[in-house]
Symmetry: none
Subunit: 246 residues, 2 copies
């Protein structure tokens, strides 16, 4: 089930209308904090754990609808944690967090079961999107909630990563796609450059703040080129997207 809040944001809910529950497992406090904050903002209920044993314990009583699991934990191997979690919660989908270089090793096989992974350092948009996808597909939330964002004649499919305007297909790079997704998930709302940076770029990004301007400029070339513009600048405040006709 999904509802649309007055702000226009779409929230995932369980079939009985209660909020989705997510367990976050990572040994770095800053990461669990960051994720907890961001996921709570999605309207979800969050618990966190700092190691494998804590994770299993919390899972037993919290019964989450999804788990975010760092593969590198102090007390046990990621796979061991996974095994025990599965004993408690056979069907819960898991989003793995893993270092960039350690990807192919063992994760590949795991995602076959419907799980998914993101590499550190991640962007919050990516984690949230993946989690939404996992929860949606697991059936913990209403299946009909679909994966297509629409604003005016602009369309973005979160599953296939396809974007089109007025029926015409548009190719976006990964970053452009995430930026557009963030904008489209908050239509008609001004988003500051800081918000965008925090949400779309990875948490350890230390670069110039004007990347946002740059990528807005890229998006405009691809999406607004020669058409009625949908991406608008609010000088001194940020950017927003809205249907062309208004």
């Amino acid at each position: 089930m999904t509802t649309t809040s007055p702000q226009g944001r779409t929230e995932l809910l369980r079939p009985d209308g209660s909020p989705v529950r997510v367990l976050v497992v990572d040994d770095e406090l800053s990461i669990t904090e960051l994720l907890s904050m961001a996921l709570r903002y999605e309207g979800w209920q969050i618990r966190s754990a700092g190691d494998g044993t804590g994770a299993v314990q919390t899972a037993r009583e919290f019964r989450p609808d999804a788990v975010v699991l760092d593969m590198m934990l102090p007390d046990m191997d990621g796979l061991a944690v996974l095994g025990r979690l599965r004993r408690e919660l056979p069907d819960v989908p898991v989003l793995f967090l893993t270092a960039k270089d350690a990807v192919e090793d063992r994760i590949a096989g795991l995602t076959a079961g419907g799980d998914d992974y993101v590499t550190k350092p991640f962007s919050l948009e990516e984690v949230v999107a993946r989690l939404r996808g996992l929860i949606r597909r697991s059936g913990a939330a209403d299946r009909r909630s679909d994966s297509v964002l629409v604003v005016g004649d602009l369309t973005l499919d979160e599953d296939s990563h396809e974007v089109s305007r007025a029926g015409e297909n548009i190719h976006l790079t990964a970053t452009e796609f995430e930026l557009l997704r963030f904008l489209m998930r908050n239509p008609r709302r001004v988003l500051s450059k800081a918000q965008i940076l925090d949400r779309v770029w990875s948490y350890d990004f230390g670069g110039q703040a004007n990347v946002v301007e740059l990528y807005i400029s890229y998006l405009r070339r691809k999406i607004d080129a020669g058409r009625e513009p949908m991406i608008h600048t609010r000088r001194g405040a940020g950017y927003l997207i809205k249907p062309a006709a208004s």
Copy 2:
């Protein structure tokens, strides 16, 4: 939940009808005083603290719905305070105060969790507006409370920063927007130039007092141009806004 007071001001209230509670943390007394006064004027209950330990203590027993937190405190780092606050109050939104040049400095990630920040020197209008936004979105106040101010046929949307009169869209600059917001949040009430300067301009503004006249003049050109005027001068007293038909 919102109610409309006899003066026509709309107040944010918690779902049970009690006033919103805000904790202000800053080591400069002049700042906490300034903020406390302004926020009390909103009808909120305010407590303040001058350092991190005091903040955590106060938070524990005061249970605020939002916190205003200076990043530069004498006893501990802003992020450390945040961590401890979060242990007490996991879901409370935080508005950070930070020096202008220190922005890039580790504000990273903070706006992603639904928190927000303003840079010193700030204007009170801005702080109040941000706080209202945070509280509204956090669910401490009724979610149905929306973000549109209406006076007569004039409309101002705090989310999209859109302003229209009689259906016609009007573009305002950032300062014009804040001035109009202040007027519209106090319809039919005379606001002195000093009040306006104190609320809409940042507290360290050292310029000529006639900026207010100047910006009122800008607003009139855009809002009242060729129409029944809504912005009125009360010579020797100040300005007020009211619906055209009266």
